[in-house]
């Protein structure tokens, strides 16, 4: 049990800090949340800056511990988030890196690293959410193309993406073909004819995600990663790619916000309420433990040579709940002020409601923990 970082890790941290201190003041002003082209430009410019400084590869090549340090330091320094680069850097990219052909890797990976191209993830469908494998968007072969029809939903960044990692059904479900078997992974250019993107407004008021309608969209067959009908496996290979580092920045941010909430309460007199103090004290324990659990999971990934464990589900269950609880405490401190969306915490409180839904709902995570970690019989 060693919590000290090696000399090499500390050198990496020091170099990064120094670079961030010099690079961040040169950042342009943050675009408004509704200015999607502006946000894309801002996010990709940041990725380009990281790339030029030699940090563009961190998510792919660095050790789990270096990634932890990278995410911790960039958050502490107030650097931009991965934002629009998320799917390219953390899902589609790693999928292509591990399952793609040399030509596919050469075509798609460098533009992601340089911040030239943005990806989105077209997995969920109106009738296939938690039960993703029941997806129905159809694709059939026509010469050297696939023709795709159907619809996707909740597609984050669809409006500004160049590519979509798309899951399609190439073989209908039948007695002989279970639902996981007939799925294929395609890289779909978002400017192809037949694609309609309809932004969806979230309860926080912004248009974070969209519906994507596909009407006989022609996708070159060379854009298929992995074999036909092997898309489920191709996707699962990288589904837990993050190796314990998925929420590093978020936990750092939560600890900062908790400090700010305490400051606010000290200022407005609510600090005299022991019940509130104790609530905040408990949250401090919570986020401190989540930070240690992150280090635990990262060390485990480091030891196992990067093989992701199912520990991510344990972490996500607790973290998503704790973060919601954090903003409930913030609302208590703000009192009537919590009704004012002009306050950052009020908006964050609304956003936090998605944490127990996105990327596998808490119910699904509990079933994963019960069946895959605890070995309980398959539920029903």
């Amino acid at each position: 049990m060693d919590l000290t970082y090696t000399e090499e890790e500390e050198a990496f941290r020091a170099g990064l800090r120094e670079w961030l201190a010099a690079a961040l003041p040169k950042l342009p002003a943050k675009p408004s949340p509704q200015d999607w082209p502006g946000r894309r430009a801002y996010d990709t410019a940041w990725q380009r800056t990281l790339y030029d400084a030699g940090y563009g590869h961190v998510h792919w090549d660095a050790s789990p511990t270096q990634r932890l340090i990278f995410l911790e330091e960039t958050e502490k320094a107030g650097a931009p988030y991965v934002g629009a680069n998320f799917v390219g850097l953390l899902h589609a990219g790693p999928t292509i890196a591990s399952e793609g052909t040399p030509e596919q890797r050469a075509r798609w990976l460098p533009p992601v690293l340089r911040g030239d191209e943005v990806w989105c993830q077209g997995f969920s469908e109106p009738d296939a959410g938690s039960d993703l494998a029941s997806l129905r968007t159809r694709a059939w072969r026509d010469g050297d193309h696939y023709v795709v029809s159907g619809s996707k939903i909740w597609t984050s960044h669809a409006e500004v993406a160049d590519w979509c990692e798309l899951l399609v059904r190439t073989t209908p479900v039948s007695e002989a073909v279970p639902k996981h078997r007939g799925i294929t992974w395609l890289a779909m250019p978002m400017d192809a004819p037949g694609i309609t993107v309809r932004p969806l407004r979230t309860l926080a008021g912004s248009t974070e995600f969209a519906e994507v309608f596909l009407d006989e969209v022609r996708v070159p067959a060379v854009n298929r990663v992995g074999d036909e009908n092997d898309g489920w496996r191709v996707t699962m290979v990288t589904l837990s790619y993050e190796r314990g580092t998925a929420f590093v920045g978020e936990v750092v941010a939560c600890r900062r916000v908790l400090g700010e909430i305490a400051r606010e309460a000290r200022g407005n007199g609510l600090w005299d309420d022991p019940a509130l103090r104790r609530r905040l004290g408990r949250l401090a324990a919570e986020f401190s433990a989540l930070w240690r659990l992150t280090q635990w999971n990262v060390s485990e990934a480091q030891r196992s040579g990067g093989v992701p464990g199912v520990g991510g589900s344990v972490f996500k269950l607790r973290y998503s709940h704790a973060r919601q609880e954090l903003y409930e405490a913030a609302a208590q401190v703000l009192g009537a002020g919590a009704l004012d969306l002009g306050h950052e915490w009020s908006l964050d409180r609304l956003s936090s409601l998605s944490y127990t839904i996105a990327a596998g709902t808490s119910q699904i995570q509990r079933s994963i923990v019960a069946e895959r970690i605890l070995g309980l019989p398959k539920g029903r």
Binding site: R282, Q295, E300, R366, L376
Partner: protein, 310 residues
């Protein structure tokens, strides 16, 4: 950074587990053995402290784990002590183990398990009548009808958390909680992990409606939450053992108390009517968890300490 158990730490944990399980499930020593005894003959503190066990633990180096080698100890650190106490928590080791551990090297015979040492902890004194040495001022102590049949308790006058009779075993010095707090947390962690395992085992074995109850999602999700509590507490307890940071210790105790109490309750629920019986071991975990939650550092103290540092 390598925040995982070393091979030596794994070996130590396995060794302690083996010793405790062998000893505590031996015939005639049914306490906390994990076996349902015959009705009416449930283990009780009225049986007194098992001094043979105490000496055996002493011989094995349990109490002298952190004592430097030149003083006859094993010379290990707090992380190793935490692993040992986690095992003690798993098997519900009866006796004032934390106080005796902290007295090793200070009180003659404590390290060897010859002298049983207890300590005043807030307003409570566990095992007062059986102990050879009592640290702190136990004058005016009156016996309680202890909720935990495996932990006799006395109460001394004073207010909880006011620091009366502060000993190393309990609330630590002015610098914050002492190692004793973390050892209680480690016991809570062991208990939380054990009740999670017990619930999972029962959920696999017990059948209703023609299938194992563990196939019902409502039961599955109870078990999943138990694992989450135990694993979050584990990260907190282990990290606090490494850093010894008073706030991390406070947080670890808080989360471990919570994990132990709530896991025991969920374990009881998963056991159905069986969980409500004296024979099933679940109630012993719950009752001990309640006791330990009042020892070392209570939730209010931990939360206030954590809040004041924000």
């Amino acid at each position: 950074m390598d925040f995982q158990l070393t091979d030596d730490q794994r070996a130590l944990r396995a060794g302690v587990r083996e010793l405790l399980e062998r000893r505590l499930s031996a015939p005639g020593s049914s306490r906390g053995s994990g076996r349902a005894g015959p009705p009416g003959s449930a283990p009780g503190a009225e049986d007194g402290l098992d001094r043979g066990l105490w000496r055996q633990l002493g011989e094995a180096g349990f109490f002298s784990l952190m004592l430097p080698e030149e003083r006859g100890g094993v010379g290990l650190g707090l992380p190793e002590a935490v692993l040992a106490f986690e095992e003690a928590g798993r098997v519900l080791l009866p006796g004032p183990a934390v106080a005796s551990f902290l007295a090793a090297g200070e009180v003659a015979g404590a390290a060897a398990g010859e002298t049983v040492v207890t300590a005043v902890d807030g307003t409570l004194v566990p095992w007062l009548a059986e102990a050879d040495v009592v640290l702190g001022d136990a004058s005016g102590a009156v016996p309680l009808r202890s909720v935990d049949p495996l932990t006799p308790l006395h109460r001394v006058p004073g207010t909880p958390g006011a620091g009366r009779g502060v000993t190393e075993a309990g609330r630590g010095g002015p610098g914050g909680p002492g190692p004793g707090v973390l050892l209680y947390a480690a016991e809570q962690l062991g208990s939380a992990a054990r009740t999670c395992e017990a619930a999972v085992q029962y959920a696999r074995d017990r059948e209703q409606f023609g299938r194992p109850i563990g196939a019902f999602q409502a039961v599955q999700h109870l078990c999943a939450q138990m694992l989450v509590r135990a694993e979050v507490a584990r990260a907190a307890v282990y990290a606090a053992a490494v850093t010894r940071d008073p706030l991390e210790v406070a947080g670890a105790k808080l989360l471990a108390d919570d994990a132990a109490v709530r896991n025991a309750r969920d374990c009881l629920q998963v056991h159905g009517g069986m969980g409500f019986t004296w024979e099933a071991q679940v109630h012993l975990h719950l009752k001990r968890a309640w006791v330990r939650a009042q020892l070392g550092q209570v939730a209010e103290e931990a939360e206030e300490a954590l809040a004041s540092a924000l």
